[in-house]
């Protein structure tokens, strides 16, 4: 269970939140100009990094507000919580530790 620090409500259980996928996916300035491949990539193609990942979350049973969170996908360490629209902060550790027991 993650303890997520909601910017409005403070730390709450993960069960109070919903995940909103990758953050900072810009909507194209002229969507009609995209070809099918580009459109499909905008809709369905997302990064899947090992390490720091900027993602969107909503505190659905609390303040019902969206926010962005920089989370390590390996250690689940929450590195930063920041408002939507703000630029992605620098991650403390971009190279995350290997999961315990992983073969180096």
């Amino acid at each position: 269970m993650l303890l997520i620090p909601c910017p409005n409500c403070g730390p709450r259980d993960e069960t109070e939140f919903h995940y909103g996928g990758q953050a900072h996916v810009p909507y194209p300035k002229d969507p009609a100009a995209l070809n099918d491949r580009e459109w499909a990539e905008l809709l369905f193609y997302r990064d899947n990094p090992k390490g720091a990942f900027a993602e969107r979350w909503v505190h659905s049973t609390g303040c019902r507000q969206w926010f962005n969170m920089l989370r390590d996908t390996v250690s689940y360490d929450i590195q930063a919580v920041y408002p939507t629209g703000a630029p992605r902060p620098d991650s403390a550790t971009t190279t995350s530790a290997s999961p315990e027991g992983a073969v180096q």
């Binding site: 409005n8 659905s60 049973t61 303040c63």
Partner: protein, 216 residues
């Protein structure tokens, strides 16, 4: 004049008829609540028909100030409650509030709170919506009330963290509800009407170990 008086009387008669047939979301659990409560340990009851109004206005705007002057202030942060007299305003979000007032404040019983708020809102950016039927209110009291809630609520309910006179929107028994601490040993739980049966029975089950006879 005579016509207006007649229409007033008939409107009131209609209202009384409507009130006589209305049922609260947990009215069928009334006897179970009484049977499952133990005075001096933990007691559960439904407080039906409280007037609930959803208010939305961005903090710092003139609209918010006008609404605040009617309600007796708007809370500024999570957990805070503002209000005056029997009207309380709970914080639900940065620009979203829940006004809780006695049943008599509702327009069907001659109250004027909704109209007062709507005229304060005027054409400002925001919302005043009657949500009285959206939720019901449970009152859980007694020295064991906190222990009962702790079985299904992940907030820190210890008095050093959770003070009387604060309210949080959270999960209780895996369903979303508003938890309002009204006194040191009294809580109000506001689930949505469709969850009232579930949460009422869940609370009864959680109370059972405290409110049943001691096994010799």
């Amino acid at each position: 004049m005579a016509e207006t008086a007649t229409s007033h009387t008939s409107a009131r008669n209609h209202a009384e008829k409507d009130l006589a047939v209305r049922t609260s979301p947990a009215s069928h659990l009334l006897e179970a609540f009484a049977a499952g409560s133990l005075a001096g340990t933990v007691e559960l009851a439904e407080l039906p028909y409280l007037t609930l109004l959803g208010v939305r206005a961005a903090a710092g705007t003139e609209t918010a100030d006008r609404l605040a002057s009617v309600t007796g202030g708007l809370p500024a942060a999570s957990g805070e409650i503002r209000g005056s007299g029997e009207t309380s305003v709970l914080w639900l979000g940065p620009a979203e509030f829940l006004v809780v007032a006695p049943a008599e404040a509702h327009e069907s019983l001659g109250g004027a709170l909704i109209q007062a708020l709507q005229s304060a809102l005027a054409d400002g950016e925001g919302q005043v919506v009657d949500l009285s039927a959206n939720r019901t209110t449970f009152e859980l009291t007694g020295p064991r009330a906190r222990a009962v809630l702790e079985k299904g609520c992940s907030l820190d309910l210890h008095p050093r963290e959770f003070k009387a006179g604060t309210a949080f929107s959270t999960m209780i028994g895996n369903i979303p509800a508003i938890l309002w601490k009204t006194g040191e040993e009294s809580f109000r739980v506001l689930p949505r009407a469709s969850f009232a049966d579930f949460l009422g029975r869940w609370l009864l089950d959680a109370m059972r170990e405290y409110a049943s006879a001691e096994v010799p």
